[in-house]
Symmetry: C2
Amino acid sequence: MTHAPLPGPIDPPARLLMGPGPISAYPSVLRAMSAPLVGQYDPFMTATMTETQELYRGVWSTRNEATVLVDGTSRAGIEAAITSLVRPGERVLVPVFGRFGHLLAEIARRAMAEVHTIEVPWGQVFTPSAIEEAVARVRPHLLALVQGDTSTTMNQPLDEIGAICARHGALFYTDATASLGGNDFEADAWGLDAATAGLQKCLGGPSGSSPITLSDRAVEVVVARKSIEAGIREDGDPDAADFVRSNYFDLGQILDYWGPRRLNHHTEATSMLYGARECARVLLAEGRDAVIDRHRLAGAAMLAGVRALGLEVFGDVAHKMHNVVAVEIPDGVPGDAARTVLLEDFGIEIGTSFGPLHGRVWRIGTMGYNARQDAVLTTLAALEAVLRRFGAKVPVAGGVEAAADVYRAAA
Amino acid sequence: MTHAPLPGPIDPPARLLMGPGPISAYPSVLRAMSAPLVGQYDPFMTATMTETQELYRGVWSTRNEATVLVDGTSRAGIEAAITSLVRPGERVLVPVFGRFGHLLAEIARRAMAEVHTIEVPWGQVFTPSAIEEAVARVRPHLLALVQGDTSTTMNQPLDEIGAICARHGALFYTDATASLGGNDFEADAWGLDAATAGLQKCLGGPSGSSPITLSDRAVEVVVARKSIEAGIREDGDPDAADFVRSNYFDLGQILDYWGPRRLNHHTEATSMLYGARECARVLLAEGRDAVIDRHRLAGAAMLAGVRALGLEVFGDVAHKMHNVVAVEIPDGVPGDAARTVLLEDFGIEIGTSFGPLHGRVWRIGTMGYNARQDAVLTTLAALEAVLRRFGAKVPVAGGVEAAADVYRAAA
């Protein structure tokens, strides 16, 4: 059918990815992606799955047995969690403080839940008391709360929310896609029943695998709804009447595949498994707290740098994620054209945003492999040059020196 | 939390994967998996997505504009097709001739369709008239039919089914996961409205990306059900009342992400995209028909080989897929123990099967990169040695020579 000449092997241009994600992967993660495949039930494969579960327990800071990967991008993990935990008609409460709160509400609505939302203006987070008031009023089966919403850069504090949910009998789920690995996260200590993420932010891998962890209480819910496929069902296997309205996202089946029964579900995405394993391995090898500190430092340096370039920072900076900052695009500077010059002439990518912030802010990330001094300083030097090219008045070397000062002070 | 010593970088053992899939990937596909990442809206990224669509039009033999990837394993593509095409309560007809027919029925049931099935014994396929009788009786909205069911190795002829569906006003969907690339496939000529696959069989890549193609008629159905997320919705955007009961699998949204509007949905799994692109590229570079012929030849050689070893072949051999053969495990040979020796001592993997065939047959694949003479002969030599080790009487070098004869005759 096609008569166009065939393209050659993939050969991406050199890019320093300093946007809100995806970001440049750790080199060792890219190497892991090209490791040879093994069979689905090869002892090496099942051992690698088990090993990866244990590595992610370290990443999530949990003892949850039910710590696995969902084969898909980060929103696959979100949908698996919500669709498996919430029966049609059950109430879900979503506090919305950016685009990804809307996404959680939308996914819950598609799961035929009764969805309630509360909102704060973009750039803010919720107080625990505002969340408790809503939980007491709505009495949700599930509270679904984004931790870090890249659309606004805000990091919602979660440490008091688990106790609120426990007081009111709600399950507590968080989407930590943008935050995990670059900011504090304590699945067990914070009382989480479910948490999901992706690889393409602070974990420093490619999009396409979604780490998930479930408390024993959450596992009870998904196991009660388990229905085993007719093609592989045996006598006595469950076939719940209130089955999950998805086969692919039925966590009961997914846990049976990762668990000792190894019951065939999908064919695990082997290369993504290798990559996900390596993301966790490099994080734990460097040390979980050390990686978070590296993100804290890179974020502080970038924040100092953009301010020293005279740029206004969007939102409640005290509640900003370490790994991304939103800056107001200066008057007179065409935001998208400037981003294009940064990409095409310098090979550096920064991001725009969504909805009310589209065209109003740039989002600059410092995450995963790129939470590094050289990446921060190079980006600030290039940004200064581009701002100047578009006629903005910026202090000479101000951004770079302010960021370098932060690194010097920490050394 | 974890105190065990950290494992090293991933280092899989040498394996020749000659089971029903996943199989050893093409080396160039593994290389593509480790290419550096680029941003989600990098011109290189969007160009790569567009280029990959065109490559898959060649693989599917279609002019369908709506030819994309679903980010997940092959059953993610199945669920996206069924969930997006079928509204709750609509009738779906599934002719079942193996495990994966049961899977299509199960996914349709979870999508709250009214599911009807017809069955033939495992090892057989349906006649067109049996399918037409059922279509006329059930009057389904969608006929969902597996092309190649690896559980039985059967290849259901599809060339007359599109006309049957057209006569009765049904949409025609096929799951070509196990067959695409190794057997004839003509999406347009056969009148398909939707087809999905995976990379891990004849396409010679890792599991984790699901190619899908939709006819214009299928696109009309999914677009009519499109609902755009609140977080990125603009004035005039649709918000259908009979929305797809999944965000992740809403093909209307997925097509908007791959289409000219590039509306943000998930973050495309970049490494899997690179791999999927390379799978299609190597297939088209060798030539679609040449690749199918290579599978036909390897399959014929393996069939001659196992027969010359005295093994009985399961099912209707005239309707066997080229890329896999099921052989009866000889009396007195412990099937799983023999497979373990083949894996551990020879590094060669073959498969068992599911349901009624578990423990009764081995499934031996010759697909993708491994549809090669050296892979066929090596497997037969090792299988002969293992059979002998377990006390089976087998002709010396019979399998290897019979297979080599097939290759010699074709040279």
